[in-house]
Symmetry: C3
Subunit: 222 residues, 3 copies
């Protein structure tokens, strides 16, 4: 599968690591962690979901450990976030204290966007890697969702916040929708690069709309 | 082993998934999660302990992913909880606000009972599956305890509560007692269905008595 | 490797389990858990990091389950902590309530020292075991860090505190420094017992200095 571009799963996986590590580093900035704390949170968020997936499908040692490009990608994402934050900070040097609140909001927004990108990229990369390892279609879709949400759940547990996946706006549902597109493409023998990109874009867009328009599942009895 | 009924381990495992998913869904209701959050918490609670066990004994991919009946059981448990809650809610429609407190207490009680049933079922299913995979007797008993408490620990971490296993009333001890009965039965070559059912019932009853009579270990220096 | 003493990796691993279990039991005392809660926290802290490592390198079932000396070591550490605490408590029997605060501080200090010892021992044991399993040098160093911090992270998540690894004083950095010493020794073909002991001592001393002198990484924008 992925006949048109054999490198696509790896590219998607590394892009997912980049996006997830950005969301981890941004969360570390918002929580006022120091540089080491930010780096640790970025690595854990970037590599956690894929490692859980690799353990569950028996791809041992996990790519996040065995392939140096994964850690390098997480490091690069952290550096990018810190450099951008540094210059943005310079521009804000004369802001009043009351404007610092805006800073937190901006960091939280940037974390949400990179988290949505993570969701799209890892859903497709996770589902595809599971299918490549001979896992059946529906379990592969579930593994895609686990890959997509895993790193973020660890991130939120470490900083003592309730994970996105249990919060109000739809989160697991967009991931599952994208995973189903990949699974469907696989089933009809057409899991091309185009289908992979469409599935990732669908998940990202669906999630961003859920955040901006407050789409959420009903609450029983509410 | 389990010569009288080769399907018993699977049946106990699926019953454990059902009970654990009920406790997850009930906890989600108590925490006022939406439908997706409730479903996620039910699946994680129902499948988490068994997946940890399967990873530790090398049963890859874990049954919770590879066998569709596991996810289906978790889904079914969630639907059952939601339907019962819906009808109970109808009956409570004209209750005063002050009576809503009773609602939370009822949900917490139901979650405790289903959690105790989980403890009994997963202790036996986990110990048996470990023994079947050639793990030695004492490690198998420990794996039974890990299976039994694993899903609930993840559930409580996700909703930011201290896990039962660290709280006041005896929790790990009833599980370990049941696991020892299974281990003993295995050692003397008589791990029959009857022994399995007795061990599960012992764990369940022991745990329920611990809750209702406030049995707890002493606290050092207290 | 470790040609001078083939048992050294196991000895370091068991000493690490002892130190980590002590830190878990001491944390349980500080949190006023009962005896079962203290034992559970000691076992999880003592065995957690090594189990994560063993799962990631494919050493299944993990030594913490397969080798009875691991659980026995965790039990022994718990008993030692409880006995010492019991006698210290006797000596404090006539202390005033205001002096109880000092008790908590002492427990927290003792937990930090045993945690630093854990860091040194598990960094070396984890890196060495990964190298022995044919993992490349840098991933092995990372696995050493994961082994060293893993149990403590689980301990802190269970009691709802932010893990050391995200807090102020350097924690992951001393572990990584020790792991690099082991990796360097391995690369030049001289991973002797002396190098292992030096790496563990370096990590321990580095961490204790970071705690006592408040060494920490800078905070961006601070």
């Amino acid at each position: 599968m992925m006949a048109h571009n054999p490198h696509l799963p790896l590219v998607l996986d590394l892009l997912g690591v980049f996006a997830a590590s950005c969301s981890g580093a941004l969360t570390g900035l918002r929580k006022a962690l120091d540089l080491v704390g930010i780096l640790v949170l970025a690595c854990v968020t970037g590599l956690g979901g894929g490692m859980i997936r690799d353990v569950l499908i028996g791809a041992i040692p996990p790519a996040g450990l065995a392939d140096w490009r994964y850690v390098a990608t997480a490091l690069a994402a952290t550096v990018v976030v810190l450099v951008i934050d540094h210059f943005a900070l310079g521009a804000r040097l004369h802001e009043k204290v009351s404007q610092r609140v805006g800073e937190r909001v901006r960091l939280a927004m940037a974390a949400r966007v990179s988290d949505a990108a993570t969701l799209g990229l890892f859903t497709v990369a996770g589902t595809t890697k599971a299918l490549d390892h001979g896992i059946a279609v529906m379990p592969s879709a579930l593994l895609g969702v686990v890959t997509a949400v895993g790193g973020g759940v660890i991130r939120d547990i470490l900083i003592n916040e309730v994970p996105y996946v249990l919060r109000r706006e739809l989160y697991a549902v967009p991931a599952f929708a994208g995973a189903l597109v990949v699974a469907l493409g696989h089933s009809i023998g057409h899991l091309t690069a185009a289908v992979a990109v469409i599935a990732a874009a669908l998940t990202f867009t669906f999630r961003m709309l859920a955040v901006s328009r407050d789409w959420h599942a009903p609450r029983p009895g509410a």
